[in-house]
């Protein structure tokens, strides 16, 4: 009895004797590892020759979890079979109870948690992790911090705390941060309460972070942290799955749940962080992280989770200098070179004059002569023939790379695929053993423009004896995710390749945005007007261009479909307002467009009918003398542009005058303006032609004024 009481005190929790539950979300709910994940769930992909989920379970076991639920969606049978055959299921080996929960309908983390809620499996605070965590952290302190908030006697009691996010301190450019998915956590340094969460995808580039002023009413001091690695390890209260059920539109744990809770006035719940700076924690959610975490393991940052501690019972690795790990029965030829950070699984053979650096090679692989393997991940039973070069790529089980083939950076070759001989796979090629399904599992959107640029890729030659199908990165099901965000997160991705951007103009601003000054509200920082950067002007100009293009389309539609002037005017107004465009821009577009409607084979009658109908449209976007002068300038320039149009100028001028679109004063002002004389020789000629008309107008006016005098 006394020991029991002591235990209670140590845990300081009334339900200390409750089991510690943990939930592993094994599915990634995205297609980052396609085509590999088409055949094997992500959590079973080997990392340093050990299935990924082993690291996660090990981490939970270290932290004292007793009951683990693995929520499996894709390939649930494989996961179940794996767990049943693993050491964790052997009765005497551990006190850990693992249960695989089938949740075949889930499409997101939110769905998985709703499923959990529906099944009522969770009875206490639990640890929520993805099936991809690699960590040597002990969660006891974080758990204690989480529990102490629930107690009324502790210093930082907060009964509304529902979650503690365990984060790892790194730096802003740390390779373990998911590229393209970095986020800023805003934390109250005195209590570790998270007060704001901001995801920062690089494309489209987020320029500003806004923090609500209300936060400062409760927290005098907050800290913005852009240096945290988010391994997605959360200690959650029982309410969390229920909250997901209540808010059925929440899909993501961070961008929906955390943001939702933090910004909600109604829920009144709080989320805390636990920031660790002495242990290792990272997750593998994309191939870039697969690379960086594998390296960290080889370089022993994750100690004691390193190859020679043999997470899997069957493994026996030997560690030698230069971070080289060798399994049993490895046969290395005399002349081969094995350099830094290499792991070689048992039964593998490396041929003469081959070189292996910074790589992981699985079991029973056969590597021929004169092969160069650099930063690559070869899984089990891979056959590499002579003269092959592989750079920073993943080659899955049973794949065969035939002689003299090269794989450039970032290639992924799936199970059992054969490539070669003598071909070169370009960068970032993905080869699957099955053809890519038309709509893969997560793609409920129709594939639209983001494929266009990639179609060329499918012409890649896999060689005479090659088997396999080229896969194209289709992107996530997130409708608002820029495909470029996925690219930067893939293995060995070189950002240089991004500047061959698909969208025009995109590369030009990405380079200069770094010191971005282009947003306007900070302009008062710089002391005066002349300090305005040209950047904003360029952006503005681009916007105007776009607006004009849309206008053109809308007006040509109006001509083609014989809209009424009112309808066309309405549409133009709508466009103008949504794009915040000016009337000047509108006139720049519609005046030439209307003139172009004139049938040049019979100019006179045609211009009359055209202007009779559409002249009033010009009138609708012309307000005041200045605008009328502007219209005349446009007309002059446009008619001067092409010789056939020269003869239209005077009739148009006359007709516009008759329709009261332009008045005499405006015509005089246009005629006398310097601009009308400086628009090139043909434009000046048109102006001269108008002299007669001007004279006639002047006389008419004089007559008018004479009459007035009388």
């Amino acid at each position: 009895m006394p020991s029991r009481a002591k235990q209670k005190q140590a845990h300081g929790d009334t339900d200390a004797d409750q089991v510690l539950q943990a939930v592993i979300l094994s599915d990634s709910f995205n297609s980052r590892f396609m085509p590999l994940t088409y055949e094997k769930p992500r959590c079973l992909l080997p990392v340093c020759n050990v299935p990924l989920i082993e690291y996660t379970i090990e981490f939970l076991a270290i932290s004292g979890a007793q009951e683990i639920f693995i929520v499996a969606t894709m390939h649930a049978e494989q996961i179940k079979a794996y767990i049943e055959s693993s050491k964790w299921s052997k009765k005497n080996s551990s006190s850990l109870h693992i249960e695989v929960v089938h949740a075949s309908e889930c499409l997101s983390v939110g769905d998985a948690l709703r499923e959990l809620d529906a099944r009522q499996l969770i009875t206490t605070d639990f640890i929520l992790v993805g099936g991809d965590v690699v960590s040597n952290m002990k969660l006891d302190k974080a758990l204690e911090a989480h529990r102490s908030r629930k107690r009324s006697d502790s210093k930082y009691t907060d009964k509304n705390a529902i979650m503690t996010m365990v984060l790892k301190e790194g730096s802003s450019y740390h390779p373990s941060r998911a590229r393209g998915e970095e986020s800023v956590f805003v934390v109250d340094p005195s209590t570790n309460e998270c007060v704001h969460y901001e995801p920062m995808e690089p494309f489209p580039r987020k320029k500003r972070l806004d923090i609500n002023a209300e936060i400062f009413e409760r927290h005098a001091e907050i800290e913005c942290r852009n240096d945290l690695i988010d391994p997605l390890i959360d200690i959650c209260s029982v309410e969390v799955p229920a909250l997901f059920s209540e808010n059925f539109d929440w899909q993501h744990l961070r961008s929906d749940f955390v943001r939702g809770v933090l910004t909600s006035d109604i829920l009144g719940k709080t989320i805390y962080t636990y920031i660790s700076n002495d242990s290792y924690a990272a997750r593998i959610q994309n191939s870039q992280q697969y690379d960086s975490v594998s390296r960290d393991i080889l370089k022993r940052w994750t100690f004691p989770i390193v190859p020679e501690t043999n997470l899997q019972e069957s493994d026996i690795y030997q560690y030698s200098r230069g971070n080289i790990y060798k399994g049993t029965r490895v046969m290395l030829s005399k002349s081969c070179i094995i350099e830094d950070n290499v792991q070689i699984g048992s039964g593998t053979v490396v041929g003469e004059n081959s070189r292996v650096t910074n790589s992981v090679i699985g079991k029973n692989c056969k590597i021929g002569n004169n092969v160069n393997i650099e930063g690559a991940y070869l899984w089990d039973n891979v056959i590499i023939e002579d003269g092959v070069a592989i750079k920073r790529s993943i080659v899955a089980n049973d794949a065969v790379i035939l002689t003299n083939t090269t794989l450039d950076n970032g290639c992924i070759v799936s199970f059992g695929v054969k490539i070669g001989p003598s071909v070169a796979l370009p960068k970032y090629t993905r080869v699957g053993s099955q053809p890519q399904p038309k709509d893969d599992y997560f793609d409920d959107e129709e594939e639209s423009d983001d494929e266009e640029g990639d179609n060329a890729v499918s012409d890649i030659d896999l060689g005479e004896q090659g088997t396999g199908y080229i896969w194209i990165d289709k992107g996530d099901n997130d409708e608002d995710n820029d495909p470029r965000n996925l690219k930067v997160a893939s293995l060995a991705f070189d950002l240089k390749d991004l500047s061959v951007g698909k969208e025009q103009g995109d590369d030009s601003d990405s380079a200069s945005e770094i010191g971005d000054l282009s947003d306007s509200d900070d302009e008062r920082d710089s002391v005066g007007d002349t300090w305005h950067p040209e950047q904003s002007q360029i952006l503005a100009a681009r916007k105007v261009e776009e607006f004009k293009r849309e206008l053109e389309q809308s007006i040509s539609r109006a001509f083609a479909e014989q809209h009424t002037v009112e309808l066309a005017a309405l549409e133009i107004t709508g466009l103008r307002m949504s794009a915040n465009g000016s009337y000047d821009d509108v006139r720049d577009v519609i005046v030439p467009a209307i003139i172009n409607q004139v049938d040049l084979s019979k100019p006179m009658p045609s211009i009359r009918t055209v202007l009779k109908k559409w002249g009033s449209l010009i009138g609708k976007v012309t307000h005041g003398k200045d605008d009328q002068v502007h219209v005349l300038h446009i007309l002059q320039v446009h008619c001067a542009d092409k010789e056939q149009l020269h003869k239209l100028f005077l009739p148009a001028l006359r007709l516009l005058y008759d329709d009261d679109v332009v008045e005499e004063d405006a015509i005089f002002r246009w005629y006398n303006s310097d601009r009308s004389k400086q628009l090139g020789p043909s434009a000046t000629a048109l102006r001269d032609k108008a002299t007669v008309f001007i004279k006639w107008l002047q006389e008419a006016e004089e007559e008018d004024s004479d009459e007035d005098d009388e």
């Binding site: 802003s172 987020k206 500003r208 923090i211 002023a213 907050i222 991004l498 990405s510 300090w531 950067p533």
Partner: protein, 450 residues
């Protein structure tokens, strides 16, 4: 004036020159006590010593012996300060009093004397009273050698309420790793008062603490080249509004640095030397990341450091409330200062609290009581007068049965018999009629209201 008295000190090589902004750029938040017929802000008495003497004492403690005192040339402020510096001031700081056009901003004023500044310089307000040991602040600058070092303080708790009304809170962002000042903005500068940050800031400084409870002491140390900046850019008018934000932003905004040619101004001579060396392998890190759209290695040579003082009192007398607060603290119980001047005549039957001060030659008649108040020199105080929480300046006459609570009575004012004033400010020379009862008023003569 001061020039003749201490000529030797100028020979010494100075590390810092000080610029004191005396009654400068201040709004009329101290109205009416700084009007022309009373005394300029720099000379307002705090525990019967002029405000500026606290700043000068602080400088002396810092070992700075050379100061320019800038004041506006309009009105008689310059004359009065000159008088004080020549005759009243006892310390060892050699002061140069300079009158400046009153329309000048603070940076304009510095520009006008830029040719007389030859070292790094420290800019201070005249209304600062800070218990911080100045060496700590200067050492911070010496160690880190930044472009600028600024001093911030947490206002005392009690002051918070009053501070909020008249001083706008600022968002102050300080980098955790190097305590660099990376963001400074008024709380209401964006539309709804939200804190709006550039992402480039967070990429350059991943850990930034944001405070709203810190106040700017307006004490800055600048490297000498900042003068060139001020000279080159006529648009910089105010230190607080133009210069400081500009320098702060140049720490992480490459475009701004390029647009402003800031880097040319401070090329590191060592870098130049290195690039000329024949063994130096030119390896430009920036080239590596040229194509990287969101990872820049932009490193500005500009650094702004901060010191946050939290251990004791620090405050500025820039509002009536803060001025009163400063007086209270300067005369609070338990300080070992002489409470009643030797020359003062206080009748036995009057009570002077041990939290009050009485100035020289002041007469206090019987049955009067003084609590938590400061009475200046040459005052005449009648019978049965009750003074609490007040500041009475010099040559003030309080007749019998006058009651004052929370008031400030300026020089030469008279409060006639039987008046009772609560939380009032009485302007210089004003006469409060008999039996006046007022609460929360500013009692000012008509001509001033114009």
């Amino acid at each position: 004036m001061g020039l003749l008295e201490k000529p030797k000190q100028q020979q010494k090589l100075q590390e810092f020159q000080a610029i004191i902004l005396a009654g400068y750029g201040s709004s009329n938040r101290l109205y009416p006590i700084t009007e022309d017929d009373n005394i300029p802000k720099a000379l307002l008495p705090v525990a019967n010593k002029p405000l500026i003497s606290y700043t000068l004492d602080w400088l002396e403690k810092a070992g700075i012996t050379d100061a320019f005192v800038l004041t506006q040339s309009m009105g008689n402020a310059q004359q009065k300060i000159a008088g004080y510096l020549a005759r009243g001031y006892q310390g060892n700081v050699h002061c140069n009093l300079i009158g400046v056009d009153e329309d000048f901003g603070t940076a304009d004023a510095i520009r006008s004397i830029s040719d007389r500044i030859t070292t790094d310089f420290i800019v201070l307000p005249c209304d600062l009273h800070c218990e911080m040991i100045p060496r700590e602040f200067l050492d911070h600058h010496r160690i880190n050698n930044p472009t600028m070092t600024g001093l911030f303080y947490e206002p005392p708790k009690g002051e918070k309420g009053s501070g909020k009304e008249d001083e706008l809170a600022q968002y102050i962002g300080i980098d955790t790793a190097e305590s660099r000042l990376v963001h400074i903005a008024d709380c209401d500068s964006s539309e709804d008062g939200d804190l709006s940050l550039r992402m480039s800031l967070l990429w350059r400084f991943p850990r930034v603490k944001f405070h709203v409870n810190l106040l700017d002491a307006h004490v800055y140390i600048f490297q000498h080249w900042v003068l060139d900046l001020i000279k080159a850019k006529e648009k910089i008018s105010s230190i607080r509004q133009d210069l400081v934000p500009l320098i702060v932003k140049c720490q992480y905004q490459r475009k701004l640095v390029e647009n402003e040619d800031m880097d040319a101004a401070l090329e590191d001579p060592l870098d130049t030397a290195l690039s000329l060396s024949t063994v130096y392998d030119e390896f430009d890190e920036n080239l590596l990341n040229e194509h990287d759209p969101y990872r820049s290695n932009f490193k500005s040579n500009i650094k702004v450091n901060t010191v946050i003082y939290r251990d004791g009192y620090c405050g500025r007398a820039n509002t009536i409330a803060k001025y009163s607060e400063m007086n209270r603290l300067a005369s609070k119980q338990g300080l070992s200062i002489r409470r009643v001047a030797e020359t003062a005549e206080v009748t036995q039957k009057s009570q002077i609290g041990n939290d009050s001060l009485v100035g020289e030659y002041t007469k206090i008649a019987e049955k009067s009581s003084v609590k938590r108040s400061i009475i200046g020199a040459h005052c005449v105080i009648g019978k049965n007068v009750k003074i609490a929480n007040s500041i009475i300046m010099d040559h003030v006459v309080l007749e019998d049965f006058v009651k004052l609570d929370g008031c400030i009575v300026c020089n030469n004012a008279k409060v006639l018999e039987g008046s009772s004033l609560t939380k009032c400010e009485v302007a210089g020379g004003y006469i409060v009629e008999r039996k006046t009862e007022e609460n929360g008023q500013k009692l000012v003569g008509f001509r001033e209201a114009i």
